[in-house]
């Protein structure tokens, strides 16, 4: 592993690297978060002209859509492209690639040690440079910013697992004035040739992220303790998801939910008239539309073990249900029985696609 050190702010340094890649023709496009100069709003952009890079904000603490999900729509790419993803977006993309919704072919992945992203509410109400500066101060000091997503505060996978290039942000005290770019793979070294000062041979300094890791672990315990009012049970499940409007927004923004036609939006589980009659006879009343719990727990069955905990679902929920917290907690437990970590390794098969002959005897009576 080698590292390039630049004497300028991290975002500026990364922008220059992107400019080098695009300018030298090593990549034909750059995919990154950008800020529209006219409207001031954030979006994801695929940029082919070097001039277009002026608008990119590759390190902004914003997640408009999970970029891993968006990237699927044009990867595999015919020509090499450089993509800037947050660690969870990269993991999401790998999970999608496992489901044949994209491929890492021709893609140079750039990620960063991530201090979390600000909630969507916070982002749409406008982010000035003071706010970004405040966020960066927390991030560079290895602290949790209070306005980041709940799942970000509790995220332990903020060091990218398999990015080609990693920009050091968390705990990197001088990141505001210096840029440290780690080249993790041969591809990265090849791509960065001719850019900046000569790289120094050095491994990633784990002591930078240890502080935040322990803070996040404590936050996670707190968050999981509060899920389902802390006790669980059918009443708590109803309490939690009872506010659901049935918009299915959480599944639409979920990078793992890739089905074109969702099982829960199909007619597969529609109820017929006799069902309603029978229910009414027994209960005297019925909540409509029915099957709210069925949708949420059903979705857990389908994808929880691949949940990367990006928090997009909680952010879009119009009823403020902490969807992501529940899914992250449940997902971690389902993944744990398979010793699976979503997005860790593209070679690692999705748990439901494989089996061993001898396993899970404890689940059989």
């Amino acid at each position: 592993m080698s590292r390039i050190d630049l004497q300028k702010a991290s975002s500026k340094g990364l922008k220059e690297l992107l400019g080098h890649l695009l300018g030298s023709g090593k990549v034909s496009a750059v995919f990154s978060l950008r800020k529209d100069p006219e409207t001031g709003s954030y979006d994801l952009g695929l940029i082919t002209e070097e001039a277009g890079l002026e608008t990119v904000k590759p390190l902004a603490p914003v997640m408009i859509a999970n970029a891993g999900q968006v990237l699927s729509s044009f990867a595999p790419s015919a020509e090499p492209i450089a993509v800037v993803l947050k660690p969870c977006e990269l993991r999401a993309f790998i999970e999608r690639a496992k489901r044949e919704q994209g491929s890492l072919e021709n893609i140079l992945t750039i990620s960063m040690t991530c201090g979390g992203v600000l909630t969507l509410d916070r982002v749409v109400s406008g982010l000035d440079s003071d706010k970004i500066g405040d966020y960066e101060n927390h991030c560079f000091a290895g602290d949790i910013h209070s306005e980041t997503r709940e799942t970000c505060k509790a995220c332990e996978y903020f060091v990218p697992m398999n990015a080609d290039i990693t920009v050091s942000m968390v705990g990197q005290k001088d990141a505001g004035t210096k840029c440290h770019i780690y080249l993790n793979t041969d591809l990265a070294k090849e791509m960065a040739k001719g850019f900046g000062p000569d790289p120094v041979e050095e491994d990633f300094d784990n002591s930078l992220v240890e502080g935040l890791a322990s803070k996040r672990a404590a936050e996670k315990e707190k968050l999981y303790g509060a899920v389902m009012s802390g006790k669980g049970g059918l009443d708590a499940v109803i309490d939690t998801f009872g506010k659901c409007l049935g918009c299915h927004g959480c599944s639409r923004v979920c990078p793992i939910c890739y089905c074109m036609i969702c099982d829960f939006e199909s007619r597969n589980f529609d109820n017929d008239m006799p069902y309603f009659e029978k229910e009414l006879e027994q209960k005297g009343a019925l909540r409509l539309p029915p099957d709210t719990m069925f949708f949420h727990i059903g979705r857990m069955i389908h994808m929880s073990f691949s949940c990367v905990g990006c928090g997009q679902c909680s952010d879009v929920c119009p009823a403020d249900i902490p969807v992501a917290s529940v899914f992250k907690k449940v997902g971690e437990e389902t993944a744990a029985i398979f010793e699976y970590v979503p997005g860790r390794d593209i070679e690692e098969a999705i748990p439901v696609m494989v089996f061993k002959e001898e396993e899970f005897t404890e689940f059989i009576d």
Binding site: G232, G233, L234, I238, A285, G298, F338, P351, E357, F363
Partner: protein, 141 residues
């Protein structure tokens, strides 16, 4: 007079093993409770894990899955997949604090009539002990 509780246990039985095992229990005149409501499926892996959830939420007091012993699946590997899916459902139930004990997966071969009767009795007793599924009374699901 107090009404005695007769549970309803939705039972998915694979046609090659467990269903035939249930048949054998019948022809062998072995007694097992009427609580077992058999649904014949071609393979235990035909049971989409959300069927289990659906049965539970719609008020089944228990959900039972019967399949061939590992290695005996008529389709070679179906029951291995069933086992993984079942483990996921069970884990999610545990994680949410729902009653995971109401779900059961057993391997019962075509020749195991007595085992079928035993499992049916055991499971029914356990469900009676646990009482009614509270989801039955919930308006809001």
């Amino acid at each position: 007079m107090e009404k005695t509780f007769v549970p309803r246990i939705t039972s998915f039985l694979c046609t090659w093993c467990s269903y035939t095992g249930a048949d054998l229990a019948g022809t062998g005149r072995m007694q097992y409770p009427t609580a077992i409501i058999p649904i014949k499926v071609m393979c235990s892996s035909r049971v989409d894990p959300v069927f289990i959830l659906k049965a539970y939420l719609k008020g089944s007091d228990g959900v039972f899955l019967g399949g061939c012993h590992p290695g005996d699946c008529h389709y070679e590997v179906g029951n291995y997949h069933t086992r993984r899916r079942f483990a996921i459902v069970k884990k999610i139930f545990e994680s949410l604090g729902l009653e995971a004990e109401r779900l059961r997966l057993s391997w019962i071969s075509a020749s195991e009539g007595p085992k079928f009767a035993r499992v049916a009795n055991e499971f029914t007793e356990k469900i009676i002990e646990m009482g009614e599924n509270e989801a039955k009374k919930k308006i809001f699901l």
